[in-house]
Structures are given as structure tokens and as C-alpha cells.
């Protein structure tokens, strides 16, 4: 159920009801004066008869010429009836079948009322007067054609007006609602258009007073989400750090053991395998740390500094060469002076992950090349291998967490997800394509300078 629909219903229906009540009131306001004017003219006719009621002997008669009676009875629309009766109801003159007269309480007053005569509804008035000391009742009535026409005319105009309002009210309410709900729409847009990792506060400044509590609540929620994300990252980082000393101890002991039992093939085999596992644990711990560090939500852009990418790669060359040598991979470099704006540790994680991937997923005897170059507006890092390559269909998926192209290789499935996060942190762009002749893979990252 939408708020708009609810408001619309709550506004339009009562407005219609109020409007209908108004129309009824207007109807009566228009009709009542008309009715009393028409009644008055009936009364005037009755008053006009009074002088003609005269005493004759000890009775009372109506002295009315035929001409005068015709004048009295003439009307465009209605038939006019009249009667003169004494207080006992005896007809003195006029229409004998005039219905029984209602009697006003006082002399020289009249009352109006509805009645029936000759099978038709009539409007009648009774005037009570006194002639020669005798109370006399004069009734005048007319059929209701004129009156019904009046009523019809009023009704028709009202119906027209009502129809117009019926159409106008929802439109006006709709516009008013949209205008009023605009700030809600803006809030919605603010929340919808923000990047998935953007947990910053929703601005309060332009919000109407009624929406402020909602925005506050949303901000509280956002802050809580941010806190929990940070807590998760802190936990990850902490756990990774905590693992390092025991791992270092284990590794040192193992290295000593390896050196001491180099000549016993069985033990050497066993220690070599243990070393492989240890290296994996070390790498996994470092990956967890890198993951926590690169999480875009936790990343502070103000930490970025001008960094020499070629020097950063140089610092890891030893590590890369050791790794590549173990797999008899020919690793090479082409490091031009390249400067980018970045975070030293994140960039190192990025370089490590890309090169590690290239070495890990290329078969023995492959060639891996790391390049960095500067052009006018970009610092470009390229890692190229001539390994099995990545099918086009998988080129997007490889950046997902825990997605692994080659299940036979040991890997965390985090490497390229970390790379992607770090690329995002740096507003850089990563591209992946096949190498020359369609062999191997080339990762290219362009950093804004």
C-alpha cells in the first residue's frame, strides 16, 4: 500500500463527501428563497381577494367579477385554484373541491403547505382574515410545474458544478501530494543512487521537518552498518595479525628442520610438504589482512600519497623471483619511472596478488612480465603471462570473491577480489584481455595520476 495511494484516498473521499454536503446546502439555499417568493405571490393573490369578500346581510360573500377571477387564475405554467371559507369550513366562494384548509393561528397571517387536488400535487397557502367580525379563510393554490422547473434548473447547474469538481479534486490533490512527497522521492533517490559501499550520512539540510526523524533513523542504521563492517574488518585484520607470530615461529622451525635433514629424502619430502602448507597459511593470513585493508568502506582517500610504482614493484622483485624460480617461470620486468596517487600497502597487495596469480596459474616454463609506464594522464601497471588464458565468458567472474577458474590450483579465491577492491579504492580501472596471438592473459590497471 503506497503512502501516496493512502493519502489520496484519505483526501479525495472526505473532500468528495464535504463537497456533496456543500452541494446539498447550495441546493436548499437556492431553492428556499425561490419557494418563499412563489408562496408570497400566492399570498398576494389571497390578499387581493380580501377586499372582495364583503358582508351581505348576515352572511359573507365574494364579490368578484368574472374578469377579475380570470386575471387571478391566469398563469403561464400552473393552474391556479382558490377558495373562500368560513372558520367552520363552509365554502363561501371559489373551487368547491379545494382540499381542507390548514388554519393559521392568528388573523391576517398565512401559511404555505403541500397538498393534493384533482389528482395533482399542489402548493397551497391559507390566509386567515376577518371580515365584518367573521373569521374568514382564503385558500390559494397552484400546481407545481413552475416549482419543479426551478428545482430542475438548480439541480442541473449543481450537477454540472459537481462533475467539474469531481474531476478537479483528484487532480489537484494528486499534484499537491506529489509536490509534498517530493522530498521523500529525493530521499529515495539519495539512497538508491549511492554506490553499494557508500555508507555516508544522508544530508538533513534540505529535508522537511516530518522526514527528518526518518533520515535520522536511516543515518543511525547506516552508522551501525558501518560500525559492524568496521568491526568485521578489525576482527579480520586482528586475527590475521595474531596469526603472524605463531606462523613465523612455525616457519622458522621448519626452515631449520629442512636445512638439517636435507640429506634424508623421506624427511626432506615431508618438511617440503609442510613448508607448502605453511606458505599457504601465511598467504591466507596475508590475504585476509589485505581483504580487510582494501574493503572500500573502510578506505580513507585522504591516505593517498604520491607513490613511485616502479620502486614499489622493485621492492617485491626478490619475492617474485623466488616464487618464479620454484616453478621455473621466467619472470621479467620493464619498469619505467611511474608515479600514481595511492596507498603504499594496498598497492603492494595489488601488485603481489596480480604477480602471484600469474605465476600460480601459469605452467612451468611460462613467461611472466611486469611492466609499469607513465603516459600523460595515467600510471599504467601491466602483468602479462603466457599461461592458459581466461575464457571470455569468465573475464567478469574472476573478480568475484571465492571464484576460482582452475580448481586444481591452490588458491584462496580472494586474490582478484582484493585486486578489484584496491583498484576501486584508487579510482583506477582494471582491464583483462588475452595476450598476443590469443595466448595467456594481460591485466592492465590504469591509475589516475
Amino acid at each position: 500500500m503506497s503512502l501516496r495511494g493512502k493519502l489520496l484516498r484519505w483526501l479525495v473521499i472526505p473532500l468528495m463527501v464535504v463537497n456533496l454536503a456543500g452541494a446539498t446546502a447550495i441546493y436548499w439555499l437556492a431553492w428556499l428563497p425561490a419557494q418563499s417568493a412563489l408562496d408570497q405571490s400566492l399570498a398576494d393573490a389571497a390578499w387581493a381577494l380580501v377586499p372582495h369578500v364583503q358582508e351581505s346581510g348576515n352572511s359573507v360573500e365574494l364579490q368578484l367579477s368574472q374578469q377579475a377571477e380570470q386575471v387571478l387564475r391566469v398563469d403561464h405554467f400552473d393552474e391556479i385554484f382558490f377558495v373562500v371559507r368560513d372558520i367552520n369550513g363552509k365554502t363561501i366562494a371559489g373551487d368547491l373541491d379545494f382540499p381542507v384548509l390548514r388554519t393559521p393561528d392568528q388573523a391576517n397571517t398565512w401559511i404555505a403547505y403541500l397538498s393534493r387536488m384533482r389528482g395533482e400535487d399542489i402548493r397551497a397557502i391559507t390566509l386567515r382574515t376577518v371580515v365584518a367580525g367573521e373569521p374568514i379563510l382564503i385558500g390559494v393554490a397552484e400546481t407545481r410545474v413552475k416549482r419543479l422547473q426551478f428545482k430542475l434548473r438548480i439541480l442541473l447547474s449543481l450537477v454540472g458544478l459537481e462533475l467539474l469538481l469531481l474531476l478537479l479534486i483528484p487532480v489537484v490533490v494528486w499534484f499537491a501530494l506529489n509536490k509534498g512527497l517530493l522530498s521523500l522521492g529525493e530521499l529515495q533517490q539519495n539512497l538508491e543512487l549511492r554506490k553499494t559501499d557508500d555508507l555516508s550520512e544522508v544530508p538533513l539540510a534540505k529535508a522537511p521537518r516530518e522526514v527528518v526523524p526518518f533520515i535520522r533513523a536511516i543515518n543511525v542504521l547506516l552508522a551501525r552498518v558501518q560500525d559492524s563492517a568496521r568491526a568485521k574488518q578489525d576482527f579480520l585484520a586482528n586475527a590475521a595479525h595474531q596469526l603472524r607470530t605463531p606462523l613465523a615461529g612455525f616457519k622458522a622451525q621448519l626452515e631449520w628442520l629442512q636445512a638439517h635433514h636435507r640429506d634424508d629424502p623421506d624427511t626432506a619430502q615431508s618438511t617440503a610438504l609442510m613448508m607448502v602448507s605453511t606458505e599457504r597459511m601465511v598467504r591466507q593470513a596475508n590475504q585476509l589482512l589485505a581483504l580487510a585493508r582494501s574493503e572500500p568502506g573502510d578506505f580513507e582517500r585522504n591516505r593517498l600519497e604520491r607513490i613511485s610504482l616502479d620502486e614499489l614493484v622493485s621492492e617485491s622483485v626478490q619475492n617474485f623471483v623466488d616464487q618464479a624460480t620454484k616453478k621455473t617461470i621466467d619472470i621479467g620486468f620493464d619498469l619505467q619511472p611511474t608515479f600514481v596517487k595511492g596507498d603504499r600497502f594496498l598497492l603492494r597487495d595489488l601488485i603481489d596478488n596480480l604477480v602471484d596469480n600469474a605465476i600460480r596459474y601459469s605452467p612451468e616454463g611460462s613467461v611472466v612480465t611486469v611492466r609499469c609506464t607513465q603516459d600523460d594522464s595515467y600510471g599504467v601497471l601491466t602483468v602479462e603471462d603466457d599461461g592458459p588464458g581466461i575464457p571470455d565468458a569468465d573475464k567478469e567472474k574472476i573478480f568475484s570473491r571465492f571464484y576460482r577458474l582452475d580448481q586444481s590450483q591452490q588458491g584462496s579465491g580472494l586474490g582478484l577480489a582484493i585486486v578489484r577492491d584496491i583498484v576501486k579504492d584508487h579510482d583506477a580501472v582494471i582491464g583483462v584481455r588475452s595476450g598476443e596471438n590469443g595466448h595467456g592473459t594481460v591485466f592492465t590497471i590504469r591509475f589516475p595520476v
Binding site: R244, A248, G249, F250, K251, W256, A259, G332, R344, T369
Partner: protein, 222 residues
């Protein structure tokens, strides 16, 4: 070469101590900052390996106290954290190098040797495989037989021997052999290397080319 090792994790301390002893170093092990401070005052050392997170006074403070006493002893810090602040603070306090746990033993050994060599201008004999360099006499021998080297070749080979099993860039080689800033091109380095290769090919060692970067002198695979 006498090493003071300060590490509170007993497994790691024991492991490092064994490895360093295996490389012919004398190792004293202490497990907290206070003992480290006392040991540094009591004994003459060649180098200290110092964990940052220690019970009692921490590694930063041990270095600060050491430098406050005017000691030039080379110090390598070990840490489980790789925050910038840790590194910067360690180096500001007067540490000479920095290694993040967990590390490879050869890396630690190489760095310690480099630190000691830097602090100790007295040249020591360098030996790898069948090759022996006597820096004092500027004499290179393979299995006791002297080989002839030009001054430049000698300097390059000495630098490679000092960094055996380590990757060195061409630029590092140039910087090392020409402290007075003579012009030497990267190509010239390649020429020296190829001449040296020809002269040491019987020593059971080889100079590996790291494409586009530099070289690594290592013992040939047996």
C-alpha cells in the same frame, strides 16, 4: 658475528636462534624488553633483532634507550603489523631495518649480514661455492686459483657476492661501483657481467639474469 635476539614468542625465538647459529652466528636470546635493555648494556653485540610487541618495555623503547646511550649498534625490528606508523616510528626511533612476520629465513640472514657489513667497514672474506674474494687484497680465487679481474669487474663481483642469492638491479650495481658519479650505462653493466660470467663458470656459481631488472648471484643447482 654476535646477535642479540629479543622475541617473546618462545617457538619463534628458538627457531630464529637455531637458523642464525646454523649460519655461524653467536646468538643470545632474551624474551622481554627489560632483559633486552640490560643485555645491550652488558655485552658487546654486532647486531640486534628486536620484536616490537614485547612484554614490559616495547621494542620501540628499547631502540630509543639504546640510541639515547649513543650506541650505533645496528637494529632490525620484527613486527606482526605492517602499518605505516609502525614502520615510520621504528625507523624514527633509530632502527636500521624492518621485517614483517612471517619472513623467510634467508631474508633475515641476508639483512643481518648487510647491516653488520654496513656498520663494520673492515672488509671480510666473501665466499660462495668455489669462489673466494679477499677484499683486503682485492684477490679473487676459484678453488685456490687466482682469477684476473679488472677494477670494475672486481667491484661488480664484490657487490654481487655481498648480495649473494639476492636480486640486485643494474642501477644498484652502478650506484655501488661508482660512488663518485662517473658515467656508466646500463649496457656497460651487461658487458661486465658477461665477462665475469666467463671467468667464474668453473666455481659452481652462476649469475642469473632477471629480465628487465638485474641479476642474482647464486650457487648453481647441484
Amino acid at each position: 658475528m654476535h646477535v642479540l635476539l629479543v622475541e617473546d614468542d618462545p617457538v619463534l625465538a628458538d627457531g630464529i636462534a637455531r637458523i642464525l647459529r646454523g649460519h655461524g652466528m653467536a646468538v643470545d636470546v632474551v624474551h622481554n624488553g627489560d632483559d633486552a635493555d640490560r643485555a645491550l648494556q652488558a655485552r658487546e653485540m654486532s647486531v640486534a633483532v628486536l620484536d616490537i610487541g614485547l612484554p614490559g618495555i616495547d621494542g620501540f623503547e628499547v631502540v630509543r634507550l639504546l640510541r639515547a646511550r649513543g650506541s650505533q649498534l645496528p637494529v632490525l625490528l620484527l613486527t606482526a603489523r605492517d602499518d605505516v606508523q609502525d614502520r615510520v616510528r621504528g625507523l624514527e626511533m633509530g632502527a636500521d631495518d624492518y621485517l614483517v612476520k612471517p619472513f623467510a629465513a634467508p631474508e633475515l640472514v641476508a639483512r643481518l649480514k648487510a647491516l653488520v657489513r654496513r656498520s663494520n667497514p673492515r672488509p671480510v672474506d666473501l665466499q660462495l661455492g668455489g669462489l673466494q674474494l679477499d677484499p683486503f687484497a682485492r684477490r679473487a680465487t676459484i678453488d685456490g686459483l687466482t682469477i684476473e679481474l679488472s677494477a670494475r669487474e672486481w667491484a661488480v663481483l664484490e657487490y654481487l657476492m655481498q648480495h649473494a642469492s639476492r636480486v640486485v638491479s643494474k642501477q644498484q650495481i652502478i650506484d655501488a661501483i661508482l660512488p663518485w658519479g662517473e658515467e656508466v650505462t646500463l649496457n656497460a653493466v651487461e658487458v661486465y657481467i658477461s665477462r665475469i660470467r666467463a671467468k667464474i663458470d668453473k666455481a659452481g656459481i652462476s649469475i642469473k639474469t632477471i629480465r628487465g631488472f638485474g641479476y642474482m648471484l647464486e650457487q648453481s643447482a647441484l
